[in-house]
């Protein structure tokens, strides 16, 4: 296949960016999208240019490192895949492809397609955990957990933290990411003691990091490579309400 790529190049966080055009020739339809970028970078290196910076690591859709806007869609045209699992057979010979970094206030560009997603780590620091000291745990079978609850918790827990939900959202909200964690932990008996403080602390941090508010577009769910449902957002909202009420009654008494 022959393709024309328009790639966002930006030398640093404080520098202006621009699109640059590259022609990729004789690309196999079996190559992955990241292998296409590898080939472009090999050419750029040999011809004295600077390769395009992009993040990637496991290349099997689980580490969450990769992610870019491909023709305006996070992770490109195929649903339920991360960029590394997208193959060129999803494109046609002669296509123009526009490649950009995630765009969100909370994800500043570091270079080219690489953005700073450390805000997601800080959301976890705000409460995305169960406080348990190493070695103090009871026997693993001491608390039976209904299979449906465990399965639902796993649906949220499988989030890979790529940030596609934020990139897809017109408000650049991280609600799907946050609610997946709140839902995962809140569905399990082990997560109950901190359930309501967790959700309030995480929401406060979410807003402080510059993520937008959720206005129920649902674009996040469409973009999520793991298919995490917006139902988790509804569950989070319920916990916020209950949590705020509990906090208010504690204050009043």
């Amino acid at each position: 296949m022959n393709l024309t790529l328009h790639v966002w190049r930006q030398d640093g966080p404080d520098r202006a960016g621009r699109f640059e055009t590259y022609h990729a020739k004789d690309i196999s339809e079996h190559a992955s999208f990241l292998e296409l970028l590898d080939l472009v970078n090999e050419d750029l290196t040999r011809s004295g240019g600077e390769p395009i910076a992009f993040e990637h690591d496991c290349r099997e859709g689980i580490c969450g490192s990769c992610g870019m806007m491909i023709n305006g869609v996070p992770h490109g045209p195929r649903s339920m895949v991360a960029t590394c699992q997208l193959h060129m057979r999803s494109f046609r010979d002669g296509d123009d492809i526009w490649i950009e970094p995630w765009r969100a206030t909370a994800f500043p560009v570091i270079r080219d397609l690489v953005v700073d997603r450390s805000a997601l780590d800080r959301l976890i620091q705000a409460g995305g955990f169960i406080s348990v000291r190493t070695g103090s745990a009871p026997d693993a079978n001491a608390i039976p957990i209904p299979k449906d609850d465990a399965d639902q918790a796993m649906d949220g827990a499988q989030c890979i933290g790529c940030g596609a939900c934020v990139a897809a959202c017109p408000n650049a909200s991280a609600m799907l990411f946050m609610s997946a964690k709140v839902g995962h932990l809140g569905l399990l008996p082990q997560g109950q003691p901190e359930r309501y403080t967790r959700v309030l602390d995480m929401v406060a941090r979410h807003d402080a990091e510059g993520f937008g508010t959720c206005t129920n577009h649902g674009a996040c769910q469409e973009a999520c490579p793991k298919g995490i449902s917006v139902d988790f957002i509804a569950r989070l909202n319920r916990d916020v309400l209950a949590g705020s009420w509990k906090a208010a009654t504690v204050e009043a008494s």
Partner: protein, 637 residues
């Protein structure tokens, strides 16, 4: 180099208890006066950093990723072993210990393996308490499956994402400590050297990958949790960033490197699709339960599978191993597949795979049953290859997957450099010459949660409490070395890319030091590697500058280290003049063509001491004594 494994005395089931009592403790109020550096945030690194932070040590943790959650532990699919015996099928700590020693073909240290089996049960408790959503039965209790040829069901799993869920458990525990201020996180920092002062590890040198700044960090102890080196082969199932840099640079500073030639090949990966192939993807071994492996009987047959009749197919595993057939062990299945491809029977556009065919299973069980069992794997295969395994047979080929070798450590997980520790895949200790399925996660977490937080206290209790800093000349020297090396890479301005050299090295290692080795090939590799290394330094092209995010420079540094490390791998494979586990020397085979161990001459750990780039390293030996397990030969016919 003195190798004292420091194995506690007494019966094997009492050693760890006894050792825990014998170890010195650091008073809780004094713990905050000690600083510990942890490099790497996979299962071992993250669990170690979180636990030591909880205990009160001041911990600094480093990762080259943008977030600790990206470490490659995340990609482990199958599960984690633990001797819980929840199935009541006769499992026990001793059985897990025995299976691990035997699976490792009697090349691991009994005392370490026993401790691992003991701690396995605590790991599951810990993970469940953290909210790891393991698979459950309808009654709400934990589900198990059998894995990797074990005769009991002791594997815990979370769909096909067990590594991810366990890593997120550690990651959350780690972030909790970051929020509490006990752990300081340095993301996007790559460790480029260990600093040794008066024979003791005192810190590390890092490069900030965003602005290129080279920095010194001092501590009372340094823990390396930097994973394995399968990427020496370029194509492997490891993530692209996995590398040997941290452990190799530690080796260059005096840490012995143990059993580097013990590398595991996984039999069921998707074969490369072209020259541009950047990495290989593993398909779960469970597929072999129902798939039949075959190649065309006629060499060079390029017809599609559907046109090749039953009488023209060679179901070679069923033919050679009538009792185990398609379920023959990893190393055997891998070697036979390579033989088939090498002799011209390979299939697919590049003739580089063998078929794994579900046609008969679908006829026998129906499409629905097969879809229930393997639906997600079939989907994954279809995403990557564009072929539908319900219609055409899958193509598979072996790929490098895990490295049992690593830095030599004693029972306390301390390397030969005092104050320098290695945990997880970065050390050599527990898997011998071959790792069993679902045991890597277990070892990473046992080391990180339960061993290092205690043994490091024993070390720290004996060192002075006064604060350490980076003023010693050794830090300045190491910083200058790192800076000069980066500058040299940037100044080479040759014509060949870093990847081109890495691919060349990978091919050489795969051919000469891959799943089958012989003395002649290894000697050839030992001639070829220095020549390749020389060309690399004069002809490599690393664009850009050192003061910004420069991914080419990062890669170049890692490949430069692989080019040095590859030699010691070949020296080790050559010196180990026997076959054992994953190390298969074609000169040493049984009449059936299987690996032939030589316990009389090779029941030891090989530990290599660095003598300079291009110089032959010195071999030291730690003898292995088997007091609890009888040495035996395996047979799968």
């Amino acid at each position: 180099m003195k190798l004292d494994p420091k194995i506690p005395t007494g019966p094997i089931e009492k050693k760890w208890d006894k050792h825990r009592f014998d170890m010195k403790l650091v008073n809780p109020a004094n713990k905050r006066r000690y600083e510990v550096i942890v490099v790497g945030t996979g299962l071992a690194g993250a669990s170690a950093a979180a636990t030591m932070g909880e205990l009160g040590y001041r911990v600094k943790v480093f990762t080259f990723h943008d977030s600790p959650r990206r470490a490659h532990s995340i990609a482990a699919q199958g599960g984690i072993n633990a001797a819980k015996n929840y199935q009541g099928d006769g499992d026990s700590i001793f059985r897990l210990f025995y299976d691990t020693v035997k699976g490792g073909d009697f090349r691991s240290r009994e005392a370490n393996v026993y401790r691992l089996a003991e701690l396995s049960v605590n790991i599951i408790d810990q993970a469940v308490a953290q909210g790891v959503p393991f698979a459950r039965e309808y009654g709400g209790l934990l589900a198990n499956r059998s894995f990797g040829g074990a005769q009991v069901s002791r594997t815990f799993y979370a769909r096909g994402q067990t590594g991810q869920q366990l890593l997120l458990g550690c990651y959350q525990a780690l972030e909790r400590q970051v929020a509490a201020g006990t752990v300081q996180m340095y993301a996007r920092h790559e460790m480029l050297d260990v600093v040794v002062v008066d024979g003791v590890a005192r810190g590390i040198i890092t490069r900030d990958l965003v602005n290129g700044r080279v920095e010194s960090h001092a501590a009372h102890a340094v823990v390396l949790a930097t994973g394995g080196y399968s990427n020496v082969f370029f194509l492997s199932t490891n993530a692209k960033g996995c590398n040997v840099t941290a452990t190799w640079r530690a080796a260059k500073k005096g840490a012995g490197f143990a059993n580097p030639c013990f590398t595991q090949i996984h039999p069921t990966c998707i074969p490369p699709a072209g020259e541009y192939q950047s990495k290989l993807t593993l398909m779960s071994e469970s597929l072999r339960n129902d798939g039949r492996i075959w190649v065309p009987s006629m060499a060079g047959d390029t017809r599609p599978a559907s046109e090749i009749g039953e009488d023209e197919r060679d179901y070679y595993l069923e033919r050679i191993y009538p009792s185990f057939g398609n379920l023959s062990p990893r190393d055997i299945s891998s070697r036979r597949a390579k033989e088939m491809v090498d002799s011209g029977h390979g299939v697919g556009p590049l003739s580089n795979g063998v078929y794994l065919d579900f046609k008969h299973a679908i006829e026998r069980l129906g499409r629905d049953v097969i879809s229930d069992r393997y639906g997600n794997l079939f989907e994954m295969y279809e995403k990557i290859t564009g072929e539908d395994p319900y219609q055409v047979p899958m193509r598979i080929y072996p790929a490098p997957h895990y490295t049992m070798g690593g830095l030599w450590v004693d029972y306390n997980l301390q390397t030969t450099v005092p104050g320098l520790f290695a945990i997880g895949e970065a050390n050599f200790s527990d898997h011998g010459a071959n790792r069993l399925g679902a045991s890597a996660l277990m070892q990473g977490l046992a080391d990180g949660y339960f061993v290092i937080p205690l043994t490091i206290g024993n070390y720290l209790a004996a060192v002075p409490r006064q604060s350490v800093d980076t003023t010693h000349a050794a830090f300045g020297d190491a910083e200058r070395d790192v800076t000069a090396r980066n500058a040299r890479l940037l100044e080479a301005r040759g014509k060949k890319t870093v990847d081109a050299f890495h691919i060349e090295l990978g091919r050489l290692m795969w051919d000469r030091c891959g799943m089958e080795r012989d003395a002649e090939g290894l000697r050839g590799a030992l001639d070829a590697i220095p020549e390749l290394r020389e060309r690399f330094w004069s002809e490599v092209c690393v664009p850009g500058v050192g003061e910004t995010l420069n991914q080419s420079l990062e890669k170049a540094g890692r490949v430069a280290d692989f080019l040095e490390f590859a030699e010691v791998m070949c020296y080790d494979a050559l010196a180990r003049d026997e076959s054992c586990g994953a190390h298969y020397r074609s000169e040493h085979t049984t009449p059936d063509g299987e690996a032939k161990r030589d316990d009389e001459h090779f029941a030891f750990v090989s530990v290599w001491e660095f003598q300079g780039v291009g110089e032959s390293p010195t071999l030291h030996r730690e003898p292995l004594l088997f007091e609890n397990v009888q040495l035996s030969t395996r047979s799968y016919k």
